[in-house]
C-alpha cells in the first residue's frame, strides 16, 4: 500500500536502534507511562476526583445493595419454606405399614429435608382441632380423610421441571392416590423474586448509565482542559492512541475506585442492618444472618465499575480527540 510505504520511509522506528527493544516491552513502557500520568492527574485535583468517585460509588452502591438484600431474601424464603411442601395423598386402602414403606422409598430416592406420615386418624384430630368442628365421624359414620405423607425436598425451586417429574413419578406409586404441590404459594414467591430481580436489573442498568455519563463527562472536561496539550502532542507526532491512553486509564481508575467505594458503602450498610435483622429473625425462632456481598460478587462489581469507566472515557475521548487539531 502506498500510504504505508510513505509513512515507513519517513518513520524512524525505535526497533532499528542499538536498544534491543521488542514491540511488546515498548507497549508495556507506554502503558506504564500512561497509567502513571493518569494517576498523577487524578491526584492533582483531589477534591474534584473525590466528588466524582462519590457519585460513582453511590450510583453503584444502590443496585449492589438491592441485589445483596434480594439474595438474602431468597435464602430467607428457603429458611421459611415450611409452606412449600409436597403432599402425597394415599389411597383409601393403604394402611400405616404400607405408608411407612412408601415413605422410606421416597427418602431413599429423593433428597428430602423432611417427611412425615399423617394417618387418617391423626388428620381427623388435626382437622377437629383446627376448625373447631367436633364429632365429624359420628355424623359421617366414616373418616373421610385419606392418609397423607408430607414431604419437604431439599431443592429450593419447587417450580422446577425436576420437581414436576418427581410428582409424576410419585403419582404412579402403588398406594398413592394423588400428589399435590402448593403451587400457588411457590408461584407467588417466584413471581415476587422475578419482579425484584428485574427491578434490580433495571436499576443497575439506569445507574450504570449514570456512571457511564458521569465518567464520560469528567473525561470530556478533562480533554477540554487539555486542549493545548493535545494539540502540542499531535504536532509532535502523537497518534490518537497515544493521546487517548491516559484518559482511558483515568476512566478505568475512576470506575474501579468508585466500585471499591461502593463495596465499602454496601458492607457498612449490611453491617448496620445485621443486628436488628438477626434479632427480628430470633423472635421468629429462626437463626438468620444477613450476608454481605460475596467475594465473587465484589469482583464482578469491580469489573463492572472498571469497564463502565473505561467505556465512558472511550466514548468521550473519541468524540473530543477528532475535534482537537493543532492550528
Amino acid at each position: 500500500m502506498k500510504t504505508q510505504s510513505a509513512s515507513r520511509t519517513l518513520q524512524n522506528p525505535p526497533t532499528s536502534t542499538a536498544y534491543s527493544y521488542s514491540r511488546l516491552s515498548a507497549l508495556w513502557d507506554q502503558h506504564r507511562q500512561a497509567a502513571r500520568i493518569s494517576i498523577h492527574r487524578i491526584c492533582r485535583h483531589p477534591l474534584g476526583s473525590v466528588l466524582t468517585l462519590l457519585v460513582i460509588g453511590v450510583a453503584l452502591a444502590l443496585p449492589t445493595l438491592l441485589s445483596v438484600l434480594l439474595g438474602n431474601g431468597e435464602s430467607l424464603s428457603q429458611h421459611w419454606s415450611g409452606g412449600t411442601q409436597i403432599t402425597v395423598y394415599l389411597s383409601e386402602n393403604t394402611n400405616a405399614q404400607r405408608a411407612e414403606q412408601i415413605m422410606t422409598l421416597l427418602k431413599e430416592r429423593y433428597q428430602l429435608k423432611n417427611a412425615r406420615y399423617i394417618s387418617p386418624e391423626e388428620g381427623l384430630v388435626n382437622f377437629e382441632r383446627d376448625t373447631g368442628i367436633e364429632h365429624v365421624v359420628e355424623q359421617l359414620r366414616k373418616n373421610p380423610l385419606p392418609g397423607i405423607i408430607e414431604i419437604m425436598p431439599e431443592i429450593a425451586d419447587l417450580g422446577s421441571a425436576q420437581v414436576q417429574t418427581w410428582l409424576n413419578t410419585i403419582r404412579q406409586f402403588p398406594g398413592v392416590e394423588n400428589v399435590q404441590l402448593d403451587l400457588a404459594w411457590v408461584n407467588r414467591l417466584q413471581e415476587m423474586a422475578r419482579f425484584a430481580n428485574r427491578l434490580v436489573h433495571a436499576l443497575a442498568l439506569l445507574l450504570g448509565m449514570v456512571v457511564l455519563l458521569v465518567i464520560g463527562n469528567t473525561i470530556r472536561l478533562s480533554t477540554q482542559n487539555r486542549r493545548e496539550e493535545i494539540k502540542i502532542a499531535k504536532l509532535i507526532g502523537a497518534t490518537d492512541a497515544f493521546i487517548r491512553r491516559p484518559f482511558l486509564y483515568t476512566g478505568f481508575f475512576y470506575g474501579l475506585l468508585g466500585a471499591l467505594l461502593s463495596w465499602l458503602v454496601v458492607s457498612i450498610v449490611i453491617l448496620w442492618l445485621r443486628a436488628p435483622i438477626t434479632q427480628l429473625a430470633a423472635s421468629y425462632q429462626s437463626v438468620f444472618q444477613l450476608r454481605n456481598l460475596s467475594f465473587m460478587g465484589a469482583m464482578e462489581l469491580l469489573l463492572a465499575g472498571a469497564l463502565l469507566g473505561f467505556a465512558g472515557a472511550l466514548i468521550a475521548v473519541n468524540l473530543q480527540i477528532r475535534q482537537i487539531e493543532p492550528d
Binding site: T3, R8, L10, Y21, Q33, A233, K234, G237, A238, P326
Partner: protein, 226 residues
C-alpha cells in the same frame, strides 16, 4: 528534501493564501522564508508539517508525496519534522526535561534512553542546568530554546520554524538563528519563516520571498520587495 510543485492553498471564503508556489530545498539546505504579513509564510510551513492540505499542487518530503499520507500516518511523518513557533507551546505542568522528552515518549522510545538524548538536546541549546525547572520560571528566550530542544531531540531530518524570534530581543534572536545554523551544519534541512530582514540578511543563506501567496524572489542573500 522538500519540494513544492505549483501549490495553491485557499481557505474558506476563497481566501487564497498560496498561489502556484513552487520551491525545492535540497537535503541539508538552509533557507529563510520572508514576506509581508499575510503573504503565506505560515501557510507554506503548515503544508509541509501536514497541518493543512494543499488545494492544488504537490508537496513532497524526502520523495514522499504528502497526498499519499493518510490521516493515520500523519503522526509518523510529523515525528521526522521538528516544528518551532513564535509561541514555544510548552506544557506548563511538566518540567523542562519532561517537555523535551515528550517526542521520545510519543515515538515510543524506552524511558531508559531518554536521559542521554534530552541532555544532549538541552546542552545544544545551552540549558543543561535547567532540566528540573518548570517552563513558566524561564525567560521567553529560554522557553523558546526549550521548544527548539524538543524539536531536535528526536533528530528530525527537517526543521521548520515560524517566526521563532518574534518575541525576542535582537541579541537573543541572533543566538537562536545561529542555533538553526548549527543544525543545518550537521545535515538537517532548515526552513525558517521570519520578517526580520536585517537579521536574516546577516545570516548569508538562501532567502525565499513570498508576496500575496506567490514566490517572488528566491536567491542568496538578496534584499527584496519594497
Amino acid at each position: 528534501m522538500i519540494e513544492l510543485k505549483h501549490v495553491t492553498k485557499s481557505y474558506e471564503q476563497n481566501r487564497i493564501a498560496l498561489s502556484q508556489a513552487s520551491l525545492t530545498l535540497a537535503q541539508g539546505e538552509m533557507a529563510f522564508l520572508t514576506g509581508h504579513s499575510g503573504a503565506g509564510k505560515s501557510t507554506l510551513l503548515k503544508l509541509i508539517a501536514l497541518l493543512e492540505r494543499p488545494t492544488q499542487g504537490k508537496v513532497m518530503i524526502g520523495g514522499v508525496d504528502l497526498a499519499d499520507v493518510g490521516k493515520a500516518d500523519i503522526p509518523y511523518v510529523r515525528r521526522r519534522i521538528g516544528v518551532i513557533f513564535q509561541n514555544p507551546y510548552l506544557l506548563p505542568d511538566r518540567n523542562v526535561f519532561d517537555n523535551v522528552a515528550l517526542p521520545l515518549q510519543i515515538a515510543g522510545w524506552p524511558s531508559g534512553s531518554w536521559l542521554k538524548r534530552v541532555r544532549a538536546a538541552l546542552e545544544k541549546v545551552g540549558l543543561a542546568n535547567k532540566e528540573a525547572v518548570l517552563p513558566q520560571t524561564l525567560s521567553g528566550g529560554e522557553q523558546q530554546r526549550v521548544s527548539i530542544a524538543r524539536a531536535i531531540v528526536n533528530k528530525p531530518a527537517v526543521l521548520l520554524a515560524d517566526e521563532p524570534t518574534g518575541n525576542l530581543d535582537p541579541d537573543l534572536s541572533e543566538e537562536i538563528m545561529h542555533l538553526f545554523q548549527d543544525f543545518h551544519q550537521v545535515g538537517v534541512t532548515v526552513l525558517v519563516a521570519s520578517h526580520d530582514l536585517r537579521l536574516i540578511a546577516k545570516m548569508k543563506h538562501r532567502i525565499i520571498t513570498l508576496k500575496e501567496g506567490k514566490v517572488v524572489n528566491d536567491g542568496l542573500d538578496k534584499h527584496s520587495i519594497t
